[in-house]
C-alpha cells in the first residue's frame, strides 16, 4: 500500500484536481453511468475490484479517520470527493461496511471490534448488508420482532428480515434484533454483527420491478452468534443505529441521481425533436429549475455543515425533495417518449440507447426506502415546524 497522503494538508482545488485526474485514468469506461443506465450500481466482482483499486491508491473511505485506514477528509473535502465521482460518471457502489458499519464501530464499537472488522471492510474481505426492516416492521421499524436470546456465550437469533439490499452479494450482516421488552419499543433493541455463513441462515432474493434481484429476505433459524458481536450496550441498539443518521440523510439527499435523469431528459427532448413543443419545453424548464434550485439549497446546507455546523433534523427535507424530484424526472422521460415509454427493455431513440422502463422503475422505491417520505414529513412537522400533537 502506498504511503497515505494527508489530504487535509493540500488545498481544496489541488485535492479536486488530483482526484479528478486519478478517476479519469482509472475508472473503467464500460462501467460508467450513461443514458442507458443513468443510475448504474456496481455489484459483485465489479464492485470489489473497484473498491480494491480505490483502497490501493489511498482513495477509500473518505470519511473514516486516518488512524483506521480512511482518508480522514473534512466534510468539505468529502463534498468534493462526491462531486468528482459524479463528474466522472462513476457508478455507485452500495458499500454499507464503509458508509455505515465502519463509522458506527468507530463511534460505538469496542477496540476489539474495530481491530477485527475495520481492516476487512477496507479490503472487501467482508462485504456487509444491513438487516433492519422486517415483514411487520417497515416504516414502523421499532416494532421489529426478530429475537436474540442470550444462551451462555452466544445469542440465539430467530426471525426474518426483508428488503435486505444485496444480502446475496454479502458475507456479513449488521442488524437490529429484539433483546428485551420495554414500554417504549425503541428500548430492548440491540445491534448485532452476524457472519452470513453461520448455520441456520437462509437468503432468498426478491426480483424487483426493474428486473433486478438486489434485495432479499433473510431467515434466521436458531442462529448462534457470539455475544462479543454485540455493538454498544444491550437493549440500546436503536441509539447505535441512529448515531449516524444525520450525515446519512445528507448524502442520501444528494442531487446526483436527479442530475443524471435530467441529462437523459435533455437528450430525449433533442432526439425526439421536441424543442419546438412549448408544452414539453415548459415542463422541462420547470424540472430544470427545480433541480437548479435544489442544488442551491443542498449546497447551502452542506456548506453550513462544512463550516462547522451539525446536520440538524431539517436535513430530512433533502431526501424528501430529491427523491420526489428524481421520480418527476423519470416520469417526464417516460411520458415524452410516447410509445417508446411503453417498451420494456432496450431501445434506440435516435443515436441514444435507452431503457426507459428501467429508469422509471428504479426511481419508484426512492420515496419508500430509508424512511418513507410520509415518515420524513411526520418528522419535519414535529421536530422542525413544532406542530401541535394530538
Amino acid at each position: 500500500m502506498a504511503e497515505k497522503i494527508d489530504y487535509e494538508k493540500i488545498s481544496d482545488d489541488e485535492f479536486r484536481l488530483r482526484f479528478r485526474t486519478w478517476l479519469i485514468a482509472n475508472f473503467p469506461a464500460h462501467l460508467k453511468q450513461n443514458h442507458h443506465r443513468p443510475f448504474r450500481r456496481l455489484r459483485g466482482d465489479d464492485a470489489v475490484n473497484w473498491l480494491n483499486l480505490l483502497d490501493k491508491n489511498g482513495w477509500r473511505a473518505p470519511a473514516w479517520p486516518r488512524e483506521f485506514g480512511g482518508m480522514g477528509l473534512s466534510f468539505r473535502k468529502q463534498l468534493i470527493y462526491h462531486e468528482e465521482l459524479e463528474h466522472a460518471g462513476v457508478a455507485r457502489v452500495i458499500d454499507l461496511g464503509e458508509s455505515q458499519l465502519g463509522p458506527t464501530l468507530i463511534k460505538c464499537g469496542s477496540a476489539e471490534q474495530r481491530a477485527e472488522y475495520l481492516p476487512k471492510i477496507l479490503s472487501c474481505e467482508h462485504v456487509w448488508c444491513q438487516g433492519y426492516s422486517e415483514p411487520g416492521a417497515g416504516s414502523d421499524l421499532a416494532s421489529l420482532r426478530t429475537s436474540a436470546v442470550r444462551d451462555r456465550n452466544d445469542f440465539v437469533v430467530n426471525g426474518q428480515k426483508i428488503w435486505t439490499t444485496q444480502a446475496n452479494d454479502s458475507t456479513h450482516i449488521f442488524m437490529l434484533v429484539r433483546t428485551g421488552q420495554f414500554p417504549k419499543k425503541q428500548l430492548g433493541i440491540s445491534f448485532l454483527l452476524i457472519d452470513l455463513k453461520t448455520p441456520g441462515i437462509t437468503i432468498r432474493p426478491i426480483v424487483n420491478l426493474a428486473g433486478e434481484d438486489e434485495f432479499c429476505e433473510v431467515f434466521f433459524d436458531d442462529v448462534r452468534v457470539p455475544a462479543k458481536n454485540l455493538v454498544g450496550e444491550l437493549d440500546q441498539g436503536w441509539s447505535v443505529a441512529k448515531a449516524l443518521l444525520g450525515y446519512e440523510r445528507v448524502w442520501i439527499g444528494s442531487p446526483v441521481l436527479a442530475g443524471k435523469a435530467l441529462a437523459l431528459a435533455n437528450t430525449l427532448v433533442r432526439e425526439l425533436n421536441l424543442t419546438d413543443d412549448q408544452g414539453v419545453m415548459d415542463r422541462l424548464a420547470q424540472l430544470s429549475a427545480d433541480l437548479h434550485d435544489y442544488r442551491l439549497l443542498y449546497a447551502e446546507i452542506c456548506n453550513g455543515i462544512a463550516d462547522g455546523g451539525q446536520p440538524g433534523v431539517e436535513v430530512s427535507m433533502l431526501k424528501l425533495y430529491a427523491s420526489e424530484l428524481l421520480q418527476g424526472l423519470t416520469e417526464f422521460n417516460q411520458e415524452i417518449a410516447a410509445e417508446y415509454g411503453g417498451i420494456v427493455g432496450d431501445v434506440e431513440i435516435g443515436a441514444t440507447l435507452v431503457d426507459l422502463h428501467w429508469q422509471f422503475m428504479m426511481a419508484r422505491p426512492v420515496t419508500v426506502f430509508a424512511g418513507a417520505n410520509e415518515i420524513q414529513r411526520d418528522i419535519l412537522a414535529k421536530a422542525v415546524l413544532r406542530m401541535a400533537e394530538d
Partner: protein, 372 residues
C-alpha cells in the same frame, strides 16, 4: 450575515413594528392608494432611500445585499410601499449615468424622499427588456405609452425608456410636464399606473443614457429589482407559513388542534420546503449579482424570481384554505399577504416567463453536464 446587514435587519424590524400597521391596509378594496409620504420620508431619514447609488452620487457602496435585507423584512410584514420600484431601480439607473446638474439633483431628490423617482419601461404585458420600445424620443420630447408604472404622482420624475435613431435611450420626464397623463390601478397593496406621453418635453437637454450603456443599465437595474423582489416574496411566503402554523396549532376542531391532523402537517412541511428553496435561490442570485456577469445574473435572477413568486402564491392559496372560512375575510391578516403576493407574482416577469428565460440561458451549461 455581516454587521451592516444585521444592523439594517434589526432597524427594519423595529421600524416596521412601530410604524407599519396592517389595519391601515384593510378596506377600500380596489381603490388606488396614494403613497404614504410620511412613511416614505421616515425611510429617507433612516438612510434607506437611494441605497445602491454609486459614490459619485453620494452613495456609500451599500448595495443590493443590504437592499435584500430590507426587502425580506418588507415581505415578512406585507409592507406596502414601492421601495424596489421607487428607490432601488432608479438608484441603479442613475448610478450608470454621468454626473451632471440634472442627475445630481435627481439623486438628491431620491435620497431625501422630497420627490418620487420611478422607471417607466414596460409597454406590453409580460414583456422583458430585450427589445426596443415603441415610445419615441425625437431629440426634445417623447410620445408613447407605458404600463405598470409604480409611484406616479404629481411630483414624480419618470425615467422613461424610448427609441431614438433605433437606439435605446433613457430620458427623465416630470410627471407634471405638458402632455403627461396617467390612469391609476390598485395593484397588490399599492398602485400602478398607465402613463401616456404626448410631445412631453424631457428634463435637461439630453437623454440620461443611450445605446449599449442604456441597455446594460436597464438590464442590470431590472435584474437587481427581480432579486430584491424575490427576497420580498420569500419573506412574504415565510411569514404566511408561520402565521398559518400558529393558526392551525391553536384552532381546535374535533377536540384537537387541526395542526395535529396529518393532512395539515404534511401540507405545511411541503410549504416549508418550498420556502427553503426560495431562500436559497435569491441568496444565490445575490451572490451572482455581486460577481457582475450580466448573463449569469440573468439566469440566477430568473431562477429566483420564478421560484419565489411561485412559492409566495402557493403558500398564499394554501394559507387561506388552512385558515378556513376566517381566511376568506378581510378581517384576517392573511389575505393582505396574499394580495401582496398577487402583484409580486407577475411584476418584472411571471414565473412561466422567467423559467423560459432561465432554460434558454442554461442550455449551454446543461450541454456541459452531458456525459463526456
Amino acid at each position: 450575515m455581516d454587521d451592516i446587514s444585521t444592523m439594517l435587519r434589526d432597524s427594519a424590524a423595529d421600524f416596521l413594528a412601530s410604524r407599519h400597521d396592517l389595519a391601515r391596509l384593510k378596506g377600500a378594496i380596489g381603490e388606488p392608494r396614494a403613497l404614504d409620504r410620511k412613511l416614505w420620508r421616515e425611510m429617507a431619514e433612516l438612510g434607506w432611500l437611494g441605497l445602491g447609488l454609486s459614490q459619485q452620487f453620494g452613495g456609500d457602496e451599500i448595495g443590493l445585499r443590504e437592499v435584500t435585507v430590507l426587502c425580506e423584512q418588507f415581505g415578512r410584514t406585507a409592507f406596502a410601499l414601492p421601495y424596489i420600484e421607487a428607490s432601488l431601480i432608479p438608484a441603479l439607473i442613475l448610478s450608470a449615468t454621468t454626473l451632471a446638474d440634472l442627475t445630481q439633483s435627481l439623486a438628491e431628490k431620491l435620497q431625501s424622499g422630497t420627490a418620487l423617482l420611478t422607471l417607466a419601461w414596460q409597454e406590453q404585458v409580460g414583456e422583458f427588456e430585450n427589445k426596443l420600445p415603441t415610445t419615441h424620443f425625437d431629440g426634445a420630447a417623447i410620445n408613447g405609452k407605458k404600463l405598470f408604472v409604480a409611484a406616479v404622482e404629481a411630483d414624480s420624475v419618470l425615467l422613461v425608456t424610448a427609441r431614438a435613431h433605433d437606439e435605446l435611450t433613457i430620458v427623465a420626464v416630470a410627471a407634471n410636464a405638458p402632455g403627461v397623463s396617467w390612469r391609476d390601478f390598485a395593484a397588490g397593496q399599492g398602485t400602478v399606473s398607465t402613463v401616456s406621453f404626448e410631445n412631453s418635453p424631457i428634463l435637461g437637454s439630453a437623454p440620461l443614457l443611450t445605446g449599449v450603456a442604456a441597455q446594460h443599465a436597464l438590464q442590470r437595474a431590472l435584474d437587481a429589482g427581480r432579486i430584491a423582489l424575490s427576497a420580498q416574496l420569500s419573506g412574504l411566503a415565510s411569514a404566511m407559513l408561520e402565521r398559518t402554523i400558529k393558526f392551525v396549532n391553536e384552532r381546535v376542531q374535533f377536540a384537537r388542534p387541526i395542526g395535529s391532523f396529518q393532512t395539515i402537517r404534511h401540507r405545511c412541511v411541503d410549504l416549508y420546503i418550498a420556502t427553503q428553496l426560495a431562500g436559497a435561490t435569491w441568496r444565490d442570485a445575490l451572490a451572482v449579482f455581486e460577481k457582475n456577469n450580466a448573463q449569469e445574473i440573468a439566469i440566477a435572477a430568473s431562477a429566483a424570481k420564478a421560484r419565489c413568486a411561485d412559492t409566495a402564491q402557493r403558500v398564499a392559496r394554501e394559507a387561506i384554505q388552512m385558515h378556513g372560512a376566517m381566511g376568506f375575510t378581510e378581517e384576517a391578516d392573511i389575505g393582505l399577504f396574499a394580495r401582496a403576493s398577487l402583484q409580486g407574482y407577475a411584476a418584472l416577469g411571471s414565473p412561466l416567463q422567467h423559467r423560459r428565460r432561465f432554460l434558454q440561458g442554461q442550455t449551454v451549461a446543461m450541454q456541459e453536464l452531458a456525459y463526456g
